[in-house]
Each structure stands twice: as C-alpha cells, then as structure tokens.
Symmetry: C2
Subunit: 453 residues, 2 copies
C-alpha cells in the first residue's frame, strides 16, 4: 500500500508550477497524503516549495509544513507574509503552532500572534501559554486540544458536548473528567461512553484512576511512563492539578526516535542532529570537534611513547611499539562496550544494585575477556617465534588495560549521571580517546616493570 | 504521579508470600498497575514470583507476565501447569499469547493450545494462525483483536455490533469496514460513528481510503509507515486483501525502541540484546567476539609495522611509530562517524542522489576535516621542534588516511544494504578494525614515499 513518489511525479509537479497550472496541481495533490506532499516538497527548490505551500489549502499545507526539515520550513516561512503564516498556524494543532512560532524571529513571531489574535483569541492565548514552557518538558510537548467534561454532567450531555469539542480534536483517545475548578478527576473512554446509559451521570461511570504528568516533567520521563503503561495519550496538569493539556503517543514516538538517534550519533562522535543529506559545513561542524578531541588524544600518546623512547634501541623490546594500535583498539572497544551498556541501562532505569557489586562484576567480566584474549596473544607469539617472556608481557599488559578500560567505561557515565550530566556524552570518542592514552601508558609501564630494563 | 516501588513494599510482599497472607497480598496489589506489579516480580526469586502469578487474577497476572524479561517469564511458566498457562493466555491479546506460546518447548506448546481449544476454539485457531507468520513481519506483530463492520449495515446496527465486539478489544482505534468476503474496504472512526445519523448506512459514512500493510510486510517498514502517517493502528491484510489483523502503536513503540537499542549496541560492538543487569556469561558472549575481531585487527597492524621495521633504526624517522595510535584513532573515528550517518540515513530512507555525488561529498568533507587536523599537526610539530618535512609527512599521511577512512565508512554500509545485509553490522568495531589496518598501512606507505628511504 505504501505510496511511492516517482521522479515522474516530481517532474510533473515542477512543470505545473512553472506553467502555473494551479487547478491541475490542486487536483493532482488533493488525493495525496500530507506526509507524501511533504516528501515531494523536499525535492523542490525554495521558490517551488513556497509556491506549493501558498497554493494548497491551509488544512493540508499546514500538516505538510510540520513534516518538513526545520531548516527548509524556516526558509519557506521567510517567504510567507505574516497573514499567510497565521493562516497556516490556525490549522495546526496548538503544539505544532507553538513550535513553529518558537522558530520564527522574535518580532515576526509577535506579529503572527497578533494576527492570530484577531481571528481566534483563544488560540492565540493557548499558543502564548505553550511558549512559556521549556522545550522537552511535558508543557513544551503537550497540545491544548483535548476533550473534557464535568463530573456533574449526564452521559447524554457529555456526548453532545463531546461532539462539539471533538471537531477541533483530530483524535479522541480519552475524555478527561474535571471538577468545577477544572482539576483533573479521571477519564472516560469513548467505548465507555458508547456503552453507558444516556441518563447516567459522568460521576457514576468515569474511571477515577488516571495517569498524568506535570507541566515540568521531563520529556524522557513522559516517554518512559507512556511506554510502561502503554498509554496513547496522557493528560498534563499544572501545580494545582488543573488540566492544561495532553500529549499523544504519535508525538512521543517522534520524541523517542529523536532521542535514540541523538544517543546513537553521540556514540559515533557526532555532536549535532545531522543527516546524510545535510551539507558539508553542517556535517563538519558536527564531526570536526570530536576529531580534534581524538587528535589531542593521539598527541598525548605520542608524548607518552617519547618517554619510553630508549626501548626502541633494544632489539628485544622494540616490537612493543608495534603493539600500540592493538592496545589502543582494545582499550577503546572495551570502554565503548562498557559505556554503551551502562548508558542504555541508565536510560531504561535498570542499573540497580550497589556500585561495589558493579565494580566486582566489571572486573570479573574483564578478567574473562582478558584471559581469552591473552591466550590468543600467547598463541600468536608462539607462531611468530617470540620469546615467551615477551608474549607474557604483552598478555599481562593487555589484561590490565582491559580491566582499566572497562572500569573507566562503566564509571564515567555513572558519575556523570549522578551529577546530572547526560551520560551519553561519555560514549564514543570521549571514552575511546581517554582509554587510548591510559591504555598506552599502562601498557608501557607494565612492560617496563616486567622486563626490568 | 509516577508510582515508586519502595524496598519496603518489596519486603512486605516477600513477607506476605512467606506467611501465605493471600488475602492481604491480593488487597495490597489490587490497586497497583500490572506494569508496576511486573517490576515488583522482577525483584523476587523464582519461587516467590511463581507464587504471585498463581495468586493473582489471570486478568492482571497475564498482563504482568508480558512485561517481564523473556528469560524470567520462561522460568515462571516452567513452574505452571498446562492448565494454568492456558488460563493466563486466554486473558492475553492474541499477539501476546502467540508470542508466549512460541517461547514454550514444542510439546508443551501443543498441550497448551489443546487446552485453550477446549475453552475457546476461536482463540486457539487465532493463535495457531498467528504462529504461522514469521517474527518481525506484520503477520508476526499483529493481533487478531479488532472491530469490523460490514459496509451494508446501518450506523445503529453498527453501534450494536461494535458494543458486542468491543468487549474483547481493549482499545478501539478504528472500526474497519469490510465487504461480504471480509475484504478490507475502509475505516470509520468512533468519532464519526458518534456524529453520524443512526439510520445512515455504513457505505455512506465510511472513509474508503485506509492505510494497510500485508501480512509479510517487514516490521521496520510497518514502523516507518505508522510513523510517517501518524497512525495509531494499522490493519493487516492477506494476499486477497482479506482483513486478518491489526497492529497498534504501543506494540510498534516497543519495536522501534528495540530496533534503536540493537543498532546502538551494534555500533558499540555488542552483538546480542544484553542489559546492564545480565550475568557475566551473557555479557561475555555478546562482547568477546567483537574484541577478538579487534585483536586480529591489532595483530594485522603488528604485521604491517614489522614490514617497516628498518625505519626504527633511523633516528630521524623512528618517531613515526609514536603516531600509530593517533592514526588508528583518527581512521576509526572518521569511519565510525561516516558509517553512523549512512546507517541512520538508510534506516530513515533519506540517502538520496547518486553514488558519485556522495563520493564527491565525502571527499570534500574529508578534505575540510583533514586540512583542519593537518594544520594542528603542523602547529604541534612546530612546538615540538620537529623538522618541517617530518610534520608535513605526518600531515599528508593523516589526510590520506582520513579520506580513505571516510570512503570505507560510507560505502561499506551502502554496499551491504544493496546486498540485503543489515548495514548496522558495519558500524563500530568492524569499521574501526578495518580502518585501523588500512590507516596504518597507508600512513607508513605514504611516509615512505615522501621521505624517500
């Protein structure tokens, strides 16, 4: 069933825009889903994209706008008048409208809000309220659209009222029940409403147990709660438990995906949200800082090895220098593995037990891995006809490096997390670089101890 | 609002189990959500957990069972009789019931199905059907629970029928409309049903455009479609477009999260789905293979450097050996960055344009990053009082390494993807290891070319 956007279709759209074939364009696009229209728009240049947004019905263009990349949307909005932007926003859900306004330059944002105020005072008020919450909190993620009823109403009255309110709400997940002061009391499903007697009072049929979050609950916590309890929507209350908005699962899916992508990129040493099709400068900005960090780490290793330079003149020990990339790689790999497991565990809230137990476990794990790898090194040395003392030295040094690397990889994220810093920054290049330096120092230091030179 | 499970509560539960205080236990747990009960159960030992599952109402225990870790659930089920398992499964959604049966040993699975057949023939049939589909396809992910109506019915008849069907369906997202041969024709929202005239026929009010997937559509594709079109449920049809099931967004959220975690772990060199609290052997199995891969890579570098051994005797050039960890680190970091961006782009379907353009872009990007890093190397050489020719050699070699590493990181995932292999395996240790070897070889080779020895 998946709709495929062909090059042919895109060319046709481009031609029609050029020829100003408005009616044909409208006909052609009327059957296409807004998410697909957004994909078509991303293939167009700025002029063509703006043309299409202006041409389409605001109901459709507003939804398509929300699906575009932020940069491209901003550039299109730059080409629209204040009135045109206001028209788009009036068709959006309040959370999307507030997000778009937050992207606009300040003075233009004020003009747009003033314009909306003329048409729909309530909407302007809602948007202004949403703008006061911090991004990535429940307040910043929620929309004002919801269906609420008073506990004193009858089911019949509730159905009437619901029909009225539901016009503005695309999807009704739950009907929220509030008291006379708008405080959240419980919820009611549409199914319950369909099956209850028309004369019953809401207070008799509603479910008083309802999960909710506070406006300043962290977005990640909202995601965790919605996932844990399989919720499709969650009401948001303020500090007086007044119902102020709701968050739907489709917004959370986007949030969860964005967070996962951010963590993944962080682990790969990419510091901003970039995509394969971003331009070279954006990609450089995201990548170069981590490479510079890696470079400094490498230069640190140069320093350390210069301290062991005299070894090179000893024909018996100079081969140690051939092992530095191996040591650095093992230190890096072990560190990244340990930190990835901890970072994920912290995110999923399943890092339990005492630090002392975790320490013992990591040491145990490192010993097992280390012994296996050390045996391989000894076999390799045997094949290469190394002196056994040399092989044993490499093996022993490797084991120490693995233990230290695992401990760094485990405890740096835990410490960062305890201090309220996102532990994900400790994965990837950060751990690799510090483990490279520690690993190489340890390697030569232990080799020196064992070989007594 | 988040419910916190205190140690006190867990101890209380343990004591009550020991004292067989069944009524008090039931009272205490009756108000607690099944997801929280699952968390409590995970803190218990096998005996206690089994006791609690047997004690609780199947309605609640079945849901809690589904939230447990697979291993632990299997061990609890080992302690239940065939009849007890059947009772749990009868309370589950069909997709969950099928998943649980798939986890059981074959003969036991057959006994459980036979037991279910006695109570509820239709359910046994549904489960058997679901077991025929492959895991991670729409068929394997879907549940049989859905509400469907015939296009010829009236709205009033539909509401009646819906009430009947909805009893078995926890959440009604959409009502699906089918023709007399059960072929999917369209859908109807509950909201539409509430607002339509009771006498109207379904054929007049339903929405004929409906997104659907086929039983053998890949799970990732289902996730992509549901996300793109913001769907909360999607109907699944067989090859004759007969409606056979539906997938809900809460199951997809779990699927999306699992996929993201798998990719993240793959990038970190962890090959199975492990968690921080898994035991040392499970963690070793997931981690050691990648470390061995890294070890072989490191030994490859040893070989390469032995080929350039004569350099060590030259006091002017021996410092080259101090730079190998730096070169390996840069090759690894650049490769991981490139591959992470491509892997993510492939997953999100936004790697567009020709390979040739991508090649030019990666080279451009590498040149910019390479020049920046080369300048830093030259500054460092100046501070360290290196000969300028030596610094230039390192800088030139570093730039070549970066270009090659970026190309490997970019094109290995693209090639794997074209061959139908999951490109995510090309991230992490795989890229790092191959780039280490290539990088070090290239470094010495170029140094040799420039320094003419």
């Amino acid at each position: 069933m998946s709709f495929e956007i062909s090059n042919e279709l895109i060319n046709q759209v481009k031609h029609l825009i050029k020829d100003e074939g408005d009616t044909r364009l409208q006909d052609m696009l009327s059957e296409i889903h807004f998410a697909d229209i957004a994909e078509i728009i991303e293939e167009l240049n700025l002029y063509q994209a703006t043309y299409l947004i202006k041409l389409l019905d605001s109901e459709k263009s507003s939804e398509a706008l929300m699906e575009l990349e932020e940069d491209f949307r901003e550039r299109i909005l730059d080409n629209l008048s204040v009135k045109e932007i206001a028209e788009e926003l009036e068709e959006m859900d309040t959370d999307d409208a507030a997000d778009v306004i937050a992207e606009l330059p300040e003075d233009r944002a004020e003009e747009v809000i003033a314009e909306i105020e003329i048409e729909d005072e309530k909407l302007a008020e809602d948007i202004k309220e949403l703008l006061t919450y911090e991004e990535d909190t429940a307040g910043g993620l929620m929309a004002k659209e919801l269906v609420k009823v008073k506990e004193t109403w009858t089911v019949a009255g509730c159905v009437r009222e619901m029909r009225r309110q539901a016009e503005k709400v695309t999807r009704v997940h739950s009907i929220y029940v509030v008291d006379k002061d708008e405080r959240l009391k419980g919820r009611l499903s549409l199914k319950d409403l369909l099956t209850a007697s028309a004369k019953a009072h809401i207070s008799e049929v509603y479910i008083p147990k309802v999960d909710y979050v506070n406006v300043d609950t962290d977005g990640e916590e909202v995601a965790r709660i919605m996932q844990k309890y399989d919720l499709e929507a969650i009401p948001v209350v303020d500090h007086e438990t007044t119902l102020v908005g709701r968050i739907t699962i489709d917004d959370m899916v986007d949030f969860i995906k964005d967070e996962a992508e951010k963590d993944y990129q962080m682990a790969a040493g990419i510091s901003q949200d970039v995509e394969a099709d971003d331009n070279v400068w954006e990609l450089t900005r995201a990548r170069l800082p981590w490479l510079i960090l890696g470079l400094f780490g490498g230069l640190g290793s140069v320093f350390i090895m210069e301290g062991f330079e005299e070894l090179m003149t000893n024909p018996k020990y100079k081969s140690l220098f051939f092992y530095t990339p191996l040591i650095a790689a093992m230190a890096g790999n072990v560190g990244v593995q340990s930190s990835a497991i901890i970072v994920q565990g912290l995110a999923n809230d399943n890092v339990k037990g005492s630090l002392w137990n975790r320490l013992l476990k990591e040491i145990g794990l490192s010993l097992i891995n280390g012994i296996a790898l050390a045996l391989l090194i000894i076999v390799f040395g045997f094949i290469m006809n190394y002196e056994i003392s040399f092989s044993l030295t490499i093996a022993a040094a490797l084991m120490s490096v693995i233990i230290v690397a695992a401990l760094i990889g485990t405890f740096v994220p835990i410490i960062l997390d305890k201090r309220g810093i996102d532990p994900a920054i400790a994965t990837g290049p950060f751990i690799t670089t510090s483990n490279d330096i520690f690993g190489i120092f340890l390697f030569f230091y232990i080799a020196k101890l064992i070989l007594h030179f």
